[in-house]
Structure formats: structure tokens, C-alpha cells
Subunit: 500 residues, 2 copies
Amino acid sequence: MAEKMDKLKSLLAEVSDLNAVGAVLGWDQQTYMPKGGAEARGNHLATVGKITHQKFTSDEIGILLTDLEKEHMGAEPDSDDARLLKLTRLEYDRATRVPSEFVAEFAIVTSKAFEAWVEARSKSDFSIFQPHLEKVVELNQRYISFFPPADHPYDVLLDQFERGLKTAEVQEIFDALRPQQVELLKAIAGKPQINDTFLHIDYDQQKLWDFSEVIATKFGFDWERGRQDKSAHPFTTNFSINDVRITTRFESENPIVLLFSTMHETGHGLYELGINQAYERTPLAGGTSLAVHESQSRLWENLVGRSMPFWEHFYPELQKLFPVQVGNLDLGSFYKGINKVQSSLIRVNADEATYNLHIMLRLELEIGMIEGTIKVKDLPEIWNIKMDEYLGVVPPDDAEGVLQDIHWSGGTLGYFSTYALGNLISAQLWEKINADIPDLSEKFRKGEFGALLDWLREKVHIHGSKYEPQELVQRVTGSKIDSGPYIRYLNQKYSEIYGL
Amino acid sequence: MAEKMDKLKSLLAEVSDLNAVGAVLGWDQQTYMPKGGAEARGNHLATVGKITHQKFTSDEIGILLTDLEKEHMGAEPDSDDARLLKLTRLEYDRATRVPSEFVAEFAIVTSKAFEAWVEARSKSDFSIFQPHLEKVVELNQRYISFFPPADHPYDVLLDQFERGLKTAEVQEIFDALRPQQVELLKAIAGKPQINDTFLHIDYDQQKLWDFSEVIATKFGFDWERGRQDKSAHPFTTNFSINDVRITTRFESENPIVLLFSTMHETGHGLYELGINQAYERTPLAGGTSLAVHESQSRLWENLVGRSMPFWEHFYPELQKLFPVQVGNLDLGSFYKGINKVQSSLIRVNADEATYNLHIMLRLELEIGMIEGTIKVKDLPEIWNIKMDEYLGVVPPDDAEGVLQDIHWSGGTLGYFSTYALGNLISAQLWEKINADIPDLSEKFRKGEFGALLDWLREKVHIHGSKYEPQELVQRVTGSKIDSGPYIRYLNQKYSEIYGL
């Protein structure tokens, strides 16, 4: 049995290497690759992707899995090996259920859909994208048909990103949260606007960059095992537990965002850096789900990085670096400025109090499209009605409305809710952390983040993908994903800031 | 037949993709990879290397090759398809002749040999490296045994880097060249030393970097299809004809070397950028041999970059950038300084007049080791005797002698002569270019390098690996590799500089 397990692991190690190789190709593509390399890079990625799929779906792995499952029956279900078999089985079935012709068709359809989306957005004309999105929806419905019937067809899509989570669970969570977020937003709208003009003036890019790395270092990012580079869209990727790459970007109209972007990606990066080294080159390496990953990035970006204790430590340094910009601005005004709430049209620019509402809107539309209760052609109208209902703003055109996100053009449905779930989990963890480390704020004021990182490593990071997301949240916080802590956090934070 | 050819090409395209992927991994390893990524990167490279080898040596490719060769008999032997078959056959046979157990053993032996070499060099103790080098020699002898008997066993090693070239040819070329280089060196030694202290003072790294890219741009390097980065050892690699990466480095004790290093790598890069786009993803892409590649880098670095007309154009700009360093230095003194000849111990620091002598020494030792006429244990002694004989200097220790180069520790024998051959080819091309473009110097004085690049593209670059190196040199210059032009070039240049 040990021999078979070793054989399986050595085959999975090769697959892991190939996945890492694909990640290197992607990282280079988004950071340093010259324009001329694009076509060749498409070929490299396609060839590596094809070989990875062939290797992973081989009969050899299938037979080993079946044999080992039989032999493992009754064994400790929480052992690493048992969990490795369980996760591999899930991914193996997923990979083998989907015919390769479908994968090829999907690639062609989404490649065209992406081009159409780019054009549609630039012309703000949904009708250009509509037929492509209709095909994407149909392909997603066919994808679902390859799997056994679920409670809800959308479950199959969600499961790609959040193992084991059900559509009904997400709906229940969001239904409890939505009215409370809408209510909070209305209360804030009745208060005077915060002045944040200092955010939208000129800051030296290199100084911000260097400062972002000072913060990442204090958070515990290990530069011997990672680095930061520039890309058009910030992201985190990794090629090993010991080679984690984050990226950031400079936005001239909102320069300080670079700091929060780096904190966000540092959160993702610390998760990957903290995974059990014994899981290297196995499916157990890597964060367990997108929502749990997002809980880590949001925790460092928002619950730490937009908190008063954090800035009590770092603000004097920022003032020294930027005397013209914030030298005469008091900490309280700075803090309010970076926490200003404002209903806006664009998800990626949304603040903590409005972000989830953007997500809920998208989830409803996706479920409707998959169920067939919402027609693609009606999306722009429904989008605008719901924006008004949830956020009190209506897009002037589709570019700032239904066409703003890249996800659907890539064929991806089932992804959006993980962003909001990540916010919720981050607040659940936060309550637990503050209970376990009562002087957390005091530590932040002294620039000490080690106790927080140690806690996260022990409770979350070390486990990699061993536990399913709901299971992990339950283990760590004592309950499943729940909106209570997040709404408490929002209410408390914004009551203070806005004097509600 | 067309169908089989298409099938073969599609299989070779995959192999080409995998080779490119390996190159991306190597590039990242030497430019940006954090230290912690090293172990994982070794696994990535090993996995990709293994799969590349499996794909290339597949029976499917073997059968297609045999079928197509039969069908192509009597077809135009200079057609691209005929040459593609010929080159693929050569590489296929080479790859299939060597058992995979040997490849694995070679990897283990050289991995240990490299570690031993690092230690031996740091302690300047050859005895640490000796047993490893003995194994390397033995492995190279076994490698040779997998191939049909050649005129000389060393031919098999040389053929890895210079298709079709024979040991006897190289020996004949070097035998004609050596006495003339030694004689020139003695003549120079009798003249007063050139003052080059301005080279060894402080220069701003960023300014040199930017200036190096100004030069590369003037040479015709296409930044939409390439880029320059930093690495410990400068190199050129490419992942496509349209994605060519060069690197350079800053040496604080000799900062201006950065410019020549960039010119050198730009020469390699221009070769790859100029290859027929129709060869993309086929074995015909890529420079045809190391010597021809080196002829391109040396031509731009030395025949262009260390020439008076080049600096007549660029020197005023350099003086403007570095007024403290060279503002008061006249062009003639600068030109002499960058062309100073001095016998030195270290190959990589050698000037144009001494470089080849370092190579000849190494070739003799390699041939002796392979023949068994030189014992590894005697290398340090023979090294020092020959250094004295050829260059008139004797290393004070093995670190600055026989242990200075990395090549043998990686198992590589047969490589060194390509450096000197590249110098010779560069001068052969140079004579032809100057005959074809009589006002070349005048163009350089005006900062115009387009005519030169066009010539090289048409005569050399466009052909990729279609022709064997000797064949290409013959086609372009009318004779095979020959030391005459290089010694004429050296004699003329240094007679002027040293007043011989």
C-alpha cells in the first residue's frame, strides 16, 4: 500500500510541477513578457495545459486511486493521506468527466467571447457581447450536465471554486446580509461626505513602492521566498511553497491604492508561504478555496490595513515620506479618508461597506442565467434596476454597468460570490483572533504583526487544501460561514467614522 | 506525404513549445527567482526535461521520420522541408542513442561535480574537484561510445555544438593561428602600456544601463519583441523568434564592461530576432551553432563596438553622461583604453588579442583527456606550463588557473573552441561586409547600423539552423572557417594602436 501511495504521489508531483510551470508562464506573461511574445506564449500554455491534463487524467492515476481508496477504507479519515486521496478523487473525477472536445470548444468560444467583450465594453454596446455570453451560459449548462444532478445546477459551478459549498447556503448567507448592508449604506448616505482629496493628488511611485515593501516585510512576507513586481492587474501566484510572487500597480488617479493592493496580495502570499512544507508537490499544497484565500487578503488589507492601530504605527512614516501631501493632515482625517464610503458603479473600486452588494447582484444574475429564469438579453436592464435597489446608483451606460467585469467573457460563472464570502470569513476570523489575542491593537500600534501571522499560520495556512472551506471555517471559528461578524464589524467601524 | 509532414511538424511544434518553456524557467531562475524557489525549480526543469525527451524520442516521430525520408529521396535537398528532416534526424538519433539511465547518471554526477568545483575553486584546491572531473571525463567517453566511430572520438562531443565540424579541422585552424597570435602578443608586450585607469573608477549604474539600451536600439534590437534584465552572468535566451531576452550585469571594478556585455548579447539577440518567421516552432528556428552565434555577438561587441567609427559617433554622448569620468579624456585615449592588450589569467576578462589563446589551451587539454593522453591529475601542471608558453603568465593558484571555468563541472566538454571559432567567423564576415558595404565606417560615424543589420539578416540570420555552420560560412564568405581574416584584423588594429 505504501508503495502504491508513493507511486501516486510521484505522479501527482509531476502534475504539480506542470501546474507550477504553467503558473511561471502566466506570471511572466503579466509582468515582463514583451508584446511580441504573446502568440508563442499562447502555444506554450496550450501545450503545457494539454500535457498536464493528459498526465493527470491517466488511467494509471485512476487505477491507483481506486486501489488506494479500497485499502484506505476505515483508515483515519483526517490523516493527510486520506485527505490527499479524497481531494485527488474529486479533482480526478472533475477532470475526467469533462470531454476534451468540450474543453477545446470552450477555449474557442471564450477566446472569441473575450474579444467581443473588449469591443463591447469599449463601445459600451452590450449587443456585441450578448450572443457570446449566451454561448458561454449554454456551455456552462453543458458543463453542469457532465456531473451528477445536484441540489441546484449552480452548485456544480460553485464547487469548482468552493468545494462542498451549496448555492442554497450562499443564498441564505447573502439574504441575511443584504438588508443590513443596504440599511447601513442608507444611514451613511444621510451623513456629511468625508473629504478625501488628499488621496487623489500626486505621490511619488517609487516611494510608495518602497513603503509597500516595508509594510509587507512587517507583515512577515519572506523576500527570500518571494518577490513583488508590477502588472496591469495585481495578482498573487506561486510556483512552490517557497516561491510566491505578488504584483502591484500604480494608479495615478489614486496612488495610495498601491499600498492597499500590496497588503491585499501580501495576504494571499502569506497564506501560500505558510502551508505545510510536507504538502509541497501534492494536491494539498495551495489555499483550500478562493473564499478562504480572499479572507486572508481582505484581512490584511482591510481589517489590519484600514484600521486605526495600524496607521497609528505607520502614519508618521507616511507623513515623513510625503510631507507635501499629508504632512499637515491629522491622522483622524487620514483614517476617515481611506475609509470613505460611497456607492459607486464599479465593483473593483468599491469600499468595505458596498463591495458585497456588487457581488450579490452578480450572483443573482448568474443563478438566473443558469436556471434560465433570466435571459441574457435582459441583463442590462436587470443590472441597472438592481444597482439602484442595492446601491442607489444607476450606470449611465453598459460599460460602467453589466460590461465592467472580465469574468463572464472568460467563461467563468460561479466565481463572484467567493469575493464576498472572503470578506465574511475575514470578519469571523477577526473576532476569534481578537478573543485569542486581546492586545492585538496594542501590538499593531507598536508595528508588531507576528502574533497575528502566527495565529493565521497555525489555524489556517498550515493546512493548505486539507480541509474543505466550510469545514476549515467551522474548525477555526466554531461556526460555518456566517455574515454576523462582518455586519457587526461594519456597523461598529462606520458608526464611529460617520457618527451614526 | 503532406499529411505526414504536417503531423511531424505538429509533434515537433509541441517539442519546441516544451523547449521554450524550459527556457522561460531558466530565464526566471537567473533573473528574478528568489533563493527559496531553487529546489522547486530543479523539479520543474527535470519534469519538463523528461517530458520533452519522451515526446521527442517517441516512436511516432521515429516512424514519421523514416517514412518521410523515403518519400523525400531525390527531392530538392536544399528545400526547407528537406533540411528540417535532415536536422530532425540528426537530433532524433542523438537523443535516442543515449540511454535514459545514462542521462540520469550524468545529471547526478554533474550535480555533485558542480558542488565540488564551487568548493575547490573557493579553496583553490584542485584535488577536491579531481575525482569528479575524472568521472565527467569517463562519462563523456561513454557518451562517445553510444555513437558510431568517428575520425576522432572528440568529434562526437564537438558535433553537439558544431554540427559537422571535425576535430582535425579545428586543430588545423588553431595550429595556423596560434604562432601568429603569440607573435603579435610578444610585439605588443615590447611597447609601452596603455593607461586605462578611467575604466576602473565609479560610474552610475543606471546611466550605463540606459546608455546600453540606447546602443542596442541603434543596433536594431526590437524592444517590442525582447527585453533586457539583470543577471549574475550575462546571457541571451529566447522563447520564440518574437520573444528574445538578453541580460547584462554591472561590475563595480570595471563598470563600462556593461556596455560591451549588452552589445555582445544584443548580437546574439539580433540573430534570433532575424530568423525566418516561417521556422517558428520547428527545429530550423534558432541559430545554427554556437560558433556562428558567437560570431554575431563578437561582431557587434568587438568589430563594431570597439571600433573607432563607432565611438566617433557615441563618445560625445558618453562624455555628456559622464563628464567627471571621461569629460576631459580625448577620444584617442578612450579608444586605446578600451582596446588595451594585456596577458591575463582569466579567460572571461581576456581582450581580443589574447582570448583565443585561452581557448586553444583548453581544447588541447580536452582532447588529451578524451584520448587518455592527459591525466586529470596532471591538469594543473600542464595548464600552468601552457599559460606561460602561450600568454607568458603563470597562475599563482588553481582558482585563477585550471579551476576558473564552470564548463567541466557541468559535464560539458567540446564547447570551448566555439568561442574562438566565433571570433574567426566574425572577422571573415567582416571582410565580406566591408567589401559589400564600402562606406560602412562612414555609416557608423553617423550612428547608422541598419545596412549592417540588413546584411547580416539576409546572409546569416534568416536561415536559422537550415545550414550547417561550415556550410553557412562557405555560402556567405566563399570559404570555410579560416583564421586569416581574424589575424589580419588583429594585426592591423593593434599595429595602429601600439605603433608596431
